[in-house]
């Protein structure tokens, strides 16, 4: 399917906060209670529509484990959006947000849109981090904020799509240089995906052109 833009996302946060589950819920609309540890990086993709335009989200899901931190850092580069996730039932995952944010700011491009996500909102009885705390942190650091549940799918669509809307607005405002792929934004291929399919297409999805 052709798209007007491709936005590259990265999902970061402590191990076990539900990064892979959020991705799975968003791309496949399903929940997997027991998920293998993510080692390195995994990918997901989905098409969404904003302002009548088809936008492809290419999402990089990273490992949260401390042991993989240096590898995760190399994936910030070239992301237009980041979902920074903590677990509302585990205080320490919230406490580590500052470190994650520092990492993200240091290794990404300065325009990257960051969405703070308090995940596992379905586990209200085990809540350790108040929603207001999340809001305050987001406000303080200039992030968008949402509480989600990868299990019930609550707010999952919104989290990904609102981030995309923010990126889209920045493009409209001319903040992003969309011709520089290092910003995590690509203009869609001119032709149908058969042309972009493997492996005749050289560097993959087309340069220049665009449907917008």
């Amino acid at each position: 399917m052709s798209y007007a833009y491709l936005f590259k996302y990265i999902i970061i946060g402590d191990t076990g906060v539900g990064k892979s589950c959020l991705l799975l819920q968003f791309t496949d609309k399903r929940f997997q209670p027991v998920h293998d540890l993510t080692i390195g990086v995994e990918f997901g993709a989905r098409m969404i529509t904003i302002d009548g335009k088809q936008i492809k989200l290419q999402i990089w899901d990273t490992a949260g484990q401390e042991a993989f931190r240096s590898i995760t850092r190399s994936y910030y580069r070239g992301a237009a959006g980041a979902l920074l996730v903590y677990d509302i039932t585990r205080r320490e995952t919230f406490n580590h947000l500052t470190t994650w944010l520092e990492d993200a700011r240091q290794h990404s491009n300065s325009n990257m849109v960051i969405m703070l996500i308090g995940n596992k909102s379905d586990l209200e009885t085990r809540r350790e981090v108040k929603k207001e705390e999340g809001e305050a942190f987001a406000h303080e650091h200039g992030l968008i904020f949402m509480e989600t549940s990868a299990k019930t799918a609550a707010n999952v669509e919104e989290a990904f799509i609102n981030t995309a809307k923010e990126i889209y607005e920045k493009i409209q405002e001319g903040v992003f240089d969309i011709n520089n792929e290092a910003n995590g934004i690509k203009i869609g291929p001119q032709h149908s995906p058969t042309n972009a399919s493997l492996p005749s297409s050289g560097q993959g999805a087309g340069q220049g052109g665009g449907c917008c």
Binding site: L23, L24, T27, D28, D36, L37, I39, G40, V41, E42, F43, G44, A45, Q58, W60, A67, F68, S70, I71, R73, S74, Y75, R77, G78, E181, A182, T194, S197, L198, P199, S200, G202, Q203, G204, A205
Partner: protein
């Protein structure tokens, strides 16, 4: 993340895509398509989207299997794409678990010998040869092993059919008789099978290059776990290193113009026509320029280890067959690796001289006797393409592996399964390094490799346990056979098939060549009538004598083996040009038809 259905759909849609119109090419190219579509290794379970993302030259993501149980023994695998020198990652990998079993014993549970195959292929000048080898070499290896099965795994009933009459079927019916009289060791036959397979794979690629778009060549390193040992067959500059307690023990040699200088010069000296007066087999120190004409220059011929003087003549100004040193050495001023598969069309970048005659597909096979060694959970085999070894030495590799394994200790039940994956990832990370501006830098500040990197980290103890268990059960099976148990407990293919026979549980378990297609299976007599898979397993348990006689545990191994196998629509075993063409054609309908150019 993506469903298999979607993948199938994609392939189907890709398959009906019209062949690209050829405006300028010759007639032949109009019909030529790749024999195998470009893909990443089967065990990564990648969708097209992910193949695209994994080839991001800016980020160079380090890819590990999302389902690590797809690789035997939770072995580690990691890869990363090059920094832009070619569009696609030209490394390929393959893993197979199969069972070596003769047709007449296929239905007897535990009769066959399970083996495991790991392979890495580092492609150059195109991905065609590497992809072809990743799709086919294991089938050729299997066929070559089957050709010598009598020497690797004697029949359960010796001397029964005349073929094995030369073996003594008297005293024991066990391991002792695995060797025929005047025996060559089993090693000789497995080594021979590997050597022959490499050779045949190369010939196959040569044939296919005439019919399909199949560009380039590739190195090839195979680790075969069979008969209680590890056999590493290598052709090229990929490398296999056994690591134990932080120390490296090489299991292969690199084959580069530098290390094969003598072979190349001798070939050039004996067949000067291959050089067509453009190159010289002599070696100079230093290489003379025009200014030295008529002066004394240092040289040596192929029969010399020392040096001597000669007067510089016009022919001394020709380019030596081997130029440069070490990793930068080049054959005919072009290629930096001298063994491997493919490259049939390769010509020197100067003078256009054909290079293939100088390349060799000969595998060097090294053996490690796992059965006889005391090994533990930290003993691994690291196999990597040269992208790894260009930056990370054998010694450093062993240290990194040891460090990674300590991060995921064997005793940590929850996370131990990631230990080899993590080690593989750490190795790739070490050689790739981090992006610094437009370069890649290792943690020490040294340049990282810009090449593709692929690494396996394979633990050795699981095969040892697997082998010992199998050997014991197989021994028991042989004793039962020799004790002449009632025919109802052991079926042989000679016996007429009855309903009673169907109760025999071995039918319900996978045996033999696991990737053989359904069409092959129907040729076995046991497939007549009732579907074997419908036989209830309770029948098995209700016959304790048979249950003892046969191998429940091996049943598990066999089932596991089936799970890790790559889905293969066609058995691409190649015996000659005719059949290979047929299988090749049959294999194509499921693959997207695209043009490589």
């Amino acid at each position: 993340m993506f469903s298999k259905v979607r993948n199938a759909l994609y392939n189907a849609v890709g398959g009906v895509e019209a062949l690209p119109a050829v405006a300028d090419g010759e007639d032949q190219s109009r019909t030529r398509v790749p024999k195998f579509p470009y893909a990443r290794p089967h065990f990564l379970l990648f969708q097209q989207d992910e193949v695209q993302v994994s080839a991001d030259h800016q980020i160079r993501p380090i890819i590990v299997p999302r389902d690590i149980s797809k690789i035997p023994w939770l072995s580690g695998y990691a890869e990363t794409v090059n920094a832009g020198k070619s569009t696609w990652n030209e490394d390929q990998a393959c893993v197979q678990q199969r069972i070596l079993v003769r047709e007449s014993e296929k239905h007897i549970q535990g009769a066959g010998m399970p083996y495991t195959y790991f392979a890495l292929f580092d492609g150059h000048a195109g991905y065609g040869a590497a992809v072809a080898a990743a799709n086919q070499l294991h089938n050729i290896v299997h066929k070559k092993l089957m050709d010598v099965i009598d020497h690797v795994l004697p029949p359960l009933e010796l001397g029964n059919n005349g073929v094995h009459g030369h073996m003594e079927a008297s005293t024991h019916r066990g391991m002792a008789l695995w060797f025929p009289e005047k025996a060559l060791p089993v090693d000789a036959f497995i080594t021979g099978a590997l050597e022959l397979a490499f050779n045949e794979m190369d010939a196959q690629i040569g044939e296919d290059k005439k019919k399909y778009v199949m560009k380039g060549g590739c190195t090839c390193v195979v680790a075969l776990f069979i008969a209680g040992k590890l056999y590493v067959a290598n052709a090229g500059d990929s490398r296999a290193v056994r690591c134990s307690l932080g120390k490296p023990y090489p299991m292969s040699n690199d084959f580069t113009p530098s290390t094969e200088r003598r072979r190349l010069q001798q070939l050039a000296a004996h067949k000067p026509e291959l050089l067509s007066d453009n190159f010289t087999h002599l070696e100079y120190n230093p290489r003379p320029g025009r200014a030295l004409m008529g002066r004394k220059i240092l040289y040596r011929d192929v029969f010399m280890t020392g040096w001597a003087y000669k007067t510089c003549a016009p022919e001394d100004l020709r380019t030596p067959v081997v130029t440069g040193e070490g990793k930068r050495s080049r054959l005919l001023a072009t290629i930096g690796v001298t063994r491997g598969l493919g490259d049939h069309e390769l010509r020197s970048i100067i003078h256009n001289t054909p290079i293939k005659p100088f390349l060799s597909s000969h595998a060097e096979v090294k053996i490690y006797n796992i059965e006889a060694q005391k090994i533990n959970e930290s003993d691994v085999l690291v196999m990597g393409t040269d992208g790894l070894w260009d930056v990370t030495s054998n010694e450093r590799t062993a240290e990194i592996v040891q460090h990674s394994l300590q991060n995921f200790p064997f005793g940590d039940k929850a996370n131990a399964k990631y230990r080899f994956t993590s080690a593989a990832q750490d190795l790739v990370m070490h050689s790739r390094g981090k992006p610094e501006g437009h370069n890649w830098q290792t943690t020490g500040g040294a340049p990282g490799t810009i090449d593709d990197i692929s690494v396996f980290v394979i633990p050795l103890t699981p095969y040892k346990s697997e082998w010992e268990a199998w050997k014991q059960k197989n021994e028991e099976l042989r004793q039962i056979k020799s004790a002449k148990l009632p025919t109802s407990s052991i079926i042989t293919s000679e016996e007429p098939r009855t309903d009673m026979d169907l109760q025999f549980p071995a039918d319900s378990l996978p045996t033999g060549n696991q990737t053989t297609g359904p069409s092959d299976r129907t040729t076995t007599p046991l497939q007549n009538g009732t579907s074997s898979s419908s036989i209830p397993i309770e029948v098995f348990v209700s016959q304790p004598d048979v249950a003892n006689a046969l191998d429940l545990r091996l049943a598990e191994i066999s089932l596991d083996a089936e799970e890790v196998l790559a889905p293969e629509p066609e058995d691409t075993i190649v015996s000659n040009g005719e059949s290979s063409a047929a299988t090749g054609d049959n294999a194509d309908p499921t693959s997207p038809n695209y043009c490589e150019r």
